[in-house]
């Protein structure tokens, strides 16, 4: 039988992969994809808990809102990348470095 922990471990692995992508990728679009992995891992958690722990649809409703938010964020992020691309003609985090951290 597939238990709650199985789902949670897969979600943890997905979260770590997303984190890995965020830390190592330079291309802004690629970082964005890694962020989507993080959102998905949280959603798997929410839905798994919704079924196994709370026994109602609270977690599913939360996950639904997360999907809406992820869509908004992706749209705005891509708009910013487009806008910057027009100025730079090459979207790479290394390029975006007139500002020094």
């Amino acid at each position: 039988m597939i238990s709650l922990e199985h789902y949670l471990i897969v979600a943890a692995a997905l979260f770590s992969l997303g984190l890995y992508g965020v830390l190592t990728r330079k291309n802004a679009i690629n970082v964005l994809m890694s962020i989507e992995l993080i959102f998905n891992s949280a959603n798997i958690n929410l839905i798994a808990f919704s079924r196994f722990v709370s026994g109602d649809t609270e977690g599913q409703v939360f996950a639904l809102f997360v999907i809406v938010i992820a869509a908004c964020e992706a749209a705005v992020a891509l708009a910013i990348i487009m806008s910057l691309y027009r100025i730079l003609k090459d979207v790479s985090l290394d390029e975006a470095s007139v500002l020094k951290g």
Binding site: L17, K26, I81
Partner: protein
């Protein structure tokens, strides 16, 4: 035999999800990364079905695959005029990044396995759409309205940013 079916599906899609996610974060080619993401999103939708969240699985496919992924592919294409050129991405700091995320994975897994989650009796499977719809109109009506403000402002912001003229 009865429980073997779900097990096979679970492990197959878990492998597909993590494998494709690995290509997303580690692949050298952006287009390939975008298409691997498709497999990740799809496997997540399969998980949702297995967890009895049929409505969420549908939304996942519609919004993620139909919306966000399409947007990302457009982004990849548009930011590379000649798209088989200059699509290569270089990775730096691979080792520290790998170590950090491995540590995070180990910590999370340990916590997840050790914590005794207070599991209640499983709910019966059934269509969740009416339940979620009712919740959105009663208990979650405020978040529902706020989400519409969020969507409005995201639409407005994205349109403003990509429009070429600045004086309008």
């Amino acid at each position: 035999m009865e429980t073997l079916g779900p097990q096979i599906i679970f492990w197959a899609f878990a492998a597909l999800m993590l494998g494709s996610a690995f290509i997303v974060v580690h692949g050298k080619n952006l287009v390939r990364s975008a298409f691997s993401l498709l497999a990740t999103f799809f496997s997540a939708a399969v998980f949702y079905v297995m967890l009895g969240a049929d409505f969420l699985a549908g939304v996942q496919l519609l919004v993620y695959v139909g919306g966000i992924l399409t947007l990302l592919v457009f982004g990849v294409m548009l930011t590379n005029r000649i798209y088989n050129l200059n699509l290569e991405t270089q990775t730096f700091q691979v080792l520290p990044g790998a170590l950090v995320s491995l540590a995070v994975f180990v910590i999370l897994t340990t916590v997840v396995v050790r914590t005794p989650w207070s599991q209640s009796a499983l709910i019966e499977d059934g269509p969740t759409t009416p339940i979620i719809g009712r919740a959105l109109m009663t208990e979650y009506v405020l978040p529902f309205e706020i989400a519409s403000v969020l969507l409005l402002v995201a639409l407005l912001g994205a349109a403003m940013l990509v429009r070429r003229r600045t004086d309008l």
